[in-house]
């Protein structure tokens, strides 16, 4: 019904709305090509990346190319350096050796990170928390409107005037996602963003992540310890072992993906066995 209505709207208005209205998927898909060209994903090239903390050599030469708009998941056993890699990509820590390049000059607003903890300001209402994500555009006149759009996108428009402390864990994480999305980033890095959520909330958040990624076409890098989450969401799963990328597994399953399908289960099994055999060796 809604979709039908929208398709009868004039072209210009469509473009504006399609980006945010979850119901307008039909329209959106037609325009996806165009959309990706103008906004979205940046490619990412990492060469010989190294990082140590004191004597602890965490990353020992990472080489990786991620095409624009790809959804990459990074798995590996605890302490193998997943978060370290992500923080380097996001520019939060200093690189020891090697390089990370995005193929062009980037703005700080182009890269956003989401952590396991929502990191919301407890003393700011939900909307104000999302506005923080605008970075240097915070003061601009359309800040409110943009933050509201982002809230609609993550399905929390009705919570805009609440304090974070009254939200559930999943809702807080959705606000954090809205804050990360509001500046229309071109690379979005997630460090176990769903790690603290219960199973059901996780699944609905995974769907939300996939949806906004498909809508906006940013390059997504997801660190997770849940291999089934990795194969459900990603185009490609990287396994990190001993500071290097040990396996690079492509997930070709068509989207939307069927959870628990034989294809995904098979991939999940083989990635798990990589992880476990690495564990046995040490």
């Amino acid at each position: 019904m809604q979709t039908a209505l929208r398709t009868s709207l004039p072209e210009t208005e469509l473009a504006g709305r399609a980006t945010f209205a979850p119901h307008a998927r039909v329209v959106r898909e037609e325009r996806q090509e165009e959309h990706r060209v103008q906004a979205s994903g940046l490619p990412l090239s990492i060469r010989g990346l190294r990082k140590s903390f004191g004597d602890n050599e965490v990353l020992r030469g990472i080489d990786l190319h991620i095409p624009a708009g790809q959804f990459v998941a990074i798995v590996g056993k605890s302490g193998c350096g997943k978060s370290t890699l992500l923080r380097l990509i996001a520019g939060l820590d200093k690189i020891d050796a090697g390089s990370i390049s995005f193929g062009q000059e980037i703005q700080p607003e182009d890269i956003r990170v989401m952590f396991q903890e929502p990191r919301l300001l407890p003393w700011a209402r939900v909307l104000a928390n999302v506005e923080v994500g605008l970075g240097r555009d915070r003061a601009s006149s359309d800040a409110h409107a943009r933050a509201e759009k982002a809230l609609i996108e993550v399905g929390l428009a009705d919570k805009r005037d609440q304090w974070p402390s009254v939200l559930s864990g999943g809702q807080k994480q959705r606000v954090a996602l809205g804050r990360a999305l509001v500046s229309r980033p071109r690379v979005l890095a997630f460090d176990e963003p769903l790690g603290a959520l219960d199973a059901l909330t996780r699944i609905s958040m995974q769907r939300l992540l996939e949806r906004v990624w498909r809508d906006q076409g940013f390059t997504a890098i997801l660190v997770t310890h849940d291999v089934s989450e990795a194969v459900a969401l990603a185009d490609r799963v990287l396994v990190i072992e001993e500071g290097r990328i040990a396996h690079d597994v492509t997930v070709n399953a068509a989207r939307p993906r069927q959870r628990g399908s034989a294809e995904l289960a098979g991939l999940e099994g083989s990635i798990l066995s990589h992880l476990l055999s690495a564990d046995d060796r040490t």
Partner: protein, 268 residues
Amino acid sequence: MSLIDSISLPRSIRLPRADGLIQWIVPLAIIAVWQVASVTGFVPTRVLPAPSDVVLAGWKLLVSGELVRNIWVSFWRASVGFLIGGSIGFAFGLANGLSQLSARLTDTTLQMVRNVPHLALIPLVILRFGIDESAKLFLVALGVFFPIYLNTLHGIRTVDPQLIEMGRIYGMTDGELFRRVIFPGALPSIFVGIRFALGIMWLTLIVAETIAASSGLGYMAMQAREFMLIDVVVLSILIYALLGKLADSASRVLERLTLSWHPAFQKR
């Protein structure tokens, strides 16, 4: 406890009605029992005058204008001393919380001074300032300084580093980071300091006025003691209690207004 239950922002500015009454039941009952005990001679009035006598003494002093003058003098000393000591403490707390250099430079010294009970300085202060206003202001300011300094410092140091990192990631400038993350994060602790400081403020003032003053509530009580006017002594004590309660309530209202985001201050 009653406060935490009753907190809800829009209503909280007017005192919550039910709780407002409940908290006065016990003091009123005590006064009633006291009056009965005095009238029946159970408590000799030489030891403790009846509440009615205290009220009468209060009325006389009020009519003569002496009461208002003394309360005003004490109130003025308390608030000016508090403002001076509080702002210096706050400034040092900020500086040492935000700057390693400043902390290394001054924190050890301040911690050493803190271990001297400030009331022990009274003889010294009298020698230096005599009994004029600056002596009292100095003592109150000194007493108030430390709780505010320590709690501001603690508040700033314990702001969640993850929030600070978040602010940096999202491109906040130093000023914004302070205004939007560090200061609001330190505020609950700062209020703890203020509440402590208010208690110390009255204590210091009572002692200072009792020992070295020629006006103010403490002085009034000392004078009354010399003339054996025990009802005036009791009156002064009650007024101190009332002023202390008022200061505490004021800080609580302020706290509720500024910390309305805090889970402890939200509607259940």
